[in-house]
Subunit: 217 residues, 2 copies
């Protein structure tokens, strides 16, 4: 499946964005683990977090191999990604697992979409970063359990899910603004014609996932 | 190298203590990573943290295989170990890496000491949990760098190191009190005759490590 070679800057910009996403997701999940109702669940979220930083290392090593310091590639995205996490700090365990469930899946959709515009070995590397389904299953089971225990929770978590997507889209706009042009060009190389179309497709998939755990979008 | 078989409870108590130590060390290091002066160092502490939770999973799986829910084995130690971390929250990066340097090494000393009283496969498992030297080298290099940049930092970090050990010993006393007797019996099976002797030996090793990074005990 041959695709046109993306310009070098676009590839390293993209690897930088994904690497930073992994690093920050690691930190926030590790911090959110303290909200767990017991030690087993606390460890489970911690393990989800650890998987993110293992991916971070692979991406950082690839950036270094391409001659770009990881810090430099990640730099332009620190502010919007940090702002997303700062503005969506979970208040309890149900919000924490919902954030992991929603955030991981949106990241995965984004990665699958842009992987098509990458050449090997970056295409494979980026696809390897997609989350293992057992993590989504764990988070989904926790959300369903919280809703079963108290049906009113569904309303609150539905609202929380909308807020997560709203903040993510708002910061995605800032990511696009921070981008030096190459990243958006890379996205446009995929099946979708533009960034807006990608966002629409991603929010549609999100709605389906919310419904799967009994939440409304 | 045959050793007398430790009683079953002692082994699971010990695995529970070490597992909880790994889980909490993971969380605190992950949280402390935010104190890092740049993204590379932030990721480095995150990776040290991730190594801890990988070890946690191995210990928890072994406990489950022995028929003991990990939560149950860890339960008695939650309060003292959590108290240690809560009372030693680093205020900056130099304190964070000093805590990782001191805490990891003391944990390793403790593990090596008691491993001698365990049968296989627990002996091997517990020895595998000992930290990779590259992490200690990273932390030591960061401490030396902080001291070189500002020699007054040595005094502050020396005092911080003493506080870390003081809190650790204080909480170790509470661990021994929380113990159901089997763990202290296991420690006494080693070369040292009692828990106090083990503590003395461990603080001696600590003094040497502090000197190696230019700090006083």
């Amino acid at each position: 499946m041959s695709v046109p070679t993306a310009p070098g800057t676009a590839v390293t910009d993209l690897l930088g964005l994904v690497a930073l996403g992994e690093l920050l997701a690691f930190e926030r999940m590790a911090a959110d683990a303290r909200l767990a109702p017991d030690l087993s669940r606390r460890a489970a979220l911690g393990e989800m977090a650890a998987a993110e930083i293992v991916n971070y290392r692979r991406l950082a090593d690839r950036l270094a191999a391409l001659g770009v310091p990881p810090e430099e590639a990640m730099g332009p995205y620190v502010e919007p990604l940090q702002a997303y996490h700062d503005s969506t700090e979970p208040r309890d365990w149900a919000e924490a697992v919902t954030k992991a469930y929603v955030g991981d899946a949106i990241t995965d959709d984004f990665i699958r979409e842009i992987a098509g515009a990458l050449d090997e070995p970056d295409r494979r590397l980026v696809l390897d970063v997609v989350h293992e389904s057992r993590y989504a299953e764990f988070a989904a089971a926790e959300i369903r359990m919280a809703v079963e225990a108290d049906p009113r929770v569904a309303g609150r978590l539905s609202m929380w899910g909308r807020r997560l997507v709203g903040e993510a889209l708002s910061q995605a706009g800032r990511v696009a603004a921070a981008d030096r042009g190459a990243l958006t060009a890379l996205i446009a190389q995929g099946d979708r014609t533009d960034v807006q179309a990608l966002f629409r497709q991603m929010t549609g998939a999100h709605t389906a996932r919310m419904a799967a755990v009994g939440l409304n979008n």
